[in-house]
């Protein structure tokens, strides 16, 4: 009987949410980035599934409602864009050009470097959208044959990396404009970079949030072209 309950969809879904709430509580106490609730929950679930010999396909199926919620959340990002679009009046040119620059540099550099290492197509597709927020990165990589687990991990690490080295890289390269700093952090490191930018100041944070949304859209539009002509 216990086995039937444990293998049921509703149990696995409830367990995921329970562990996530627990992970959130741990994260709020420790405030260490690597104690992120998503990481803790995923690690605990992996341990649980391996221990009880439940395969990933069963888990995916049980939590398919979460995929649906993620789809809704991507559409909801449009609301975030709307909120932030009010703040760019008079700076459209800088915002547009920096979005394009950040997106093109990001896509080309990842693809070319990975190619130089002789990496397979599947992996290149998985890591190409590394600078954009996870839901958009998945929406970009998944339909084109990327491995979503690889995408999520690389996107997360890029976020952490950018938020740690970002401010130093910016001051070393002579970027002093607070708006430019915020924008660069959001363009390179999505939500985690935005959190770092908010620590620098409100205006930096707003620019980072905007950069995150815009580079996400630009990546979705430009990546298929890069994929078609570059590899």
């Amino acid at each position: 009987m216990i086995e039937t309950i444990i293998n049921s969809d509703i149990f696995l879904l409830t367990l995921t949410i329970a562990l996530y709430l627990l992970g959130g509580a741990i994260f709020r106490r420790t405030h260490i980035v690597f104690m992120h609730p998503t990481l803790l929950t995923a690690a605990a679930i992996i341990a649980f599934l391996s221990l009880l010999d439940i395969d990933y396909a069963t888990y995916r199926e049980a939590t398919s409602i979460i995929d649906f919620a993620l789809g809704l959340a991507v559409v909801a990002l449009g609301y975030l864009m709307y909120e932030q679009s009010e703040k760019i009046r008079g700076r459209e040119k800088a915002v547009f050009a920096a979005t394009l620059a950040g997106t093109v540099i990001g896509l080309l550099s990842v693809v070319l470097i990975a190619q130089a290492f002789g990496t397979e197509r599947e992996i290149i597709t998985s890591i190409a959208p590394k600078s954009v927020t996870v839901p958009i990165a998945i929406a970009v990589a998944e339909p084109r044959g990327g491995l979503v687990a690889v995408t999520s991990v690389v996107v997360f690490c890029t976020g952490i990396l950018g938020s740690i080295i970002g401010p130093t890289v910016l001051s070393m390269s002579g970027v002093k404009d607070p708006l430019a700093k915020g924008f660069a952090l959001g363009a390179a490191s999505h939500g985690i970079g935005t959190a770092r930018a908010i620590e620098l100041g409100a205006i930096e944070g707003a620019m980072a949030g905007l950069a995150m949304a815009l580079t996400g859209v630009a990546t979705a539009v430009l990546f298929p072209i890069v994929e078609k002509y570059l590899y």
Binding site: T38, A42, M81, A94, A149
Partner: protein, 112 residues
Amino acid sequence: MQGLFCILICWVVGNAVSYLIDGYVSGNIIGMLLMFICLKFKVFNPEAVRPVAKFLLGTMALFFVPFGVGLMVSYREILDNTAAIVVATVVSTIAVIVGAGWVFQLLNRSKR
């Protein structure tokens, strides 16, 4: 409820558009753009969309968990390509920060 309806209708139309353009951009991303446009042109009331949007965006980190769990089947691919992934990610992240920062600063300054 009205907010959820706004989100769903954007997604449905987004999927239809995505189908028409042969899946070039996925339906939920087109839905996101439609949501932005509908709010901008006051087709939707932002007050109605806000509560659902805030809830979804605030809970988003939970939605990535199943993908993270996918590591139990695809960790090999990461281990086999560690060098390429690390070098590409680090170099590219620095390049994006410098590139986007410079371009923004240059154009924002010349404007004034």
